[in-house]
């Protein structure tokens, strides 16, 4: 009886460890979802950065055209918006890498659309 109880306790401990490990190590499908989320975030950030950069430059140009010196080409906006584009591109690439690596381990035929 005692032996059986001891075995059960050890078995339960092993089982707990397995559960903890499986919680720590994400499945390929989970990693694919994570990669997809990063790709989407990268896309949004990069496009926002690109539109912000264009608007910043074009707003300066438009002001110059109508002859107001109030707002010249807003140089201070150029670097942050270019940085945003770079950040978005990086997120996209990291997300794609995570997704593709996970896809190699998965049976799922899920794809990133673009």
């Amino acid at each position: 009886m005692n032996g059986t109880n001891t075995y059960s306790a050890a078995d339960a401990a092993v089982e707990r460890t397995e559960v903890e490990r499986s919680e720590r190590v994400a499945t390929p499908e989970q990693r694919m979802r994570r990669g997809k989320r990063l790709v989407l975030a990268g896309f949004v950030v990069a496009i926002v950065g690109m539109v912000g950069y264009c608007v910043a430059c074009l707003a300066g140009g438009a002001d110059a055209r109508v002859g107001t010196a109030l707002l010249e080409r807003p140089e201070w906006l150029i670097v942050p918006t270019l940085g945003t584009i770079a950040l978005g591109t990086l997120l996209w690439l990291v997300g794609s890498f995570v997704f593709l690596m996970a896809a190699m381990d998965s049976d799922s035929d899920e794809e990133i659309n673009f």
Binding site: F43, A46, I47, C57, G60, W92, L93, F114
Partner: protein, 382 residues
Amino acid sequence: MDVAPTRTVRDRGVFAAGAARLAALHPAYFALVMSTGIVSIACQLQGLEEMAEVLLWINLVAYPLLWVLFGARAVLFPRRVMADCRSHQRAPGYFTMVAATGVVGSQLVVLREAALAASILWWVCLLLWVLCTYTIFALLTVRDDKPALADGIHGGWLIAVVATQSVVVLGCAAGADVVGDRDTSLLLLLSFWLFGGMLYFWTIALIFYRYMFFRFTPDDLMPPYWINMGAMAISTVAGTQLATSVQGSTMLEPLTPFVTGLTVMFWATATWWIPLLLVLGVWRHVVRRHRVRYDPLYWGLVFPLGMYSTCTLRLSELLGAPFLSWIAAAFVVAATAAWLLAFLGAARRALELLVLWLRPAGVARDEDRVSAEVWRTGGTPG
């Protein structure tokens, strides 16, 4: 016992995949350079100088790299290359080589004022134009088993027009004295502009006929259909440059009103296409729920957007109509956003090769097995 994958096995996998991609390399891949170049020019003209500079450097890498890849493909997979030259679907893609050369030359003039490089590239552009025009059209004409019109014609055919007009654009940008005497050069460039326009009307009549009288599925509406607009946009740019260049020429200056009038007609035609193409895009992706997946042909969508921005700005300068520059500004935003999206798609394709190299061996996908077969058979299409 699991054996760790060796470097050799990994290399073999990535080599096979790389070979497959090289064998399947689309002849229209130079559209990447065309699009990057025209978006760079549009950015420079609108004051987006940092972006224009980045895009110039990307093109200075991509243009020679694509020549290396196309050269390697011609050596390793000659049968594939010949099959492409005889294909109504893929052969017009070779005209992107001409247009890309023209756009890179124009880019160097606009961003670097590199007149000598532009003159050299103009001669390369002219030779490629002669080679592509009289090889591809001849091969397609003498082919025995021709496809039906609905299967053979598509917007990509209009790249032949873009290639022709790119000779004019670069010729004018290089100083309009590319063959020595200015009047002779201008007459040559004017002739190119006119038969480029003629080629557009021949081809667009067939495309419009195919639109209206044949079954049309979402798969048929490939991104190069935007070249319907892009070909007219580059014709507009060429017209504005010719109208400026002929000033002072005793022989051709009297033609200025004709050139200006025809240029406005080209711009109006390009503008007419935009709402229709947008509606068809909504039908394809929203109504019929066609998935957006990266395809090199998407570069054929970026190019017209950048070209429309450039042509509208040039026309506003020619006509003295500053209100048109607002349209040009709106389109430069659309063009840069579209370029970024296409670039990210292309970068992910390149990343796939890296992942293939990193992944454990023994997980060969069907694609790799197909690539090995392509490699073995020397690239004969199935």
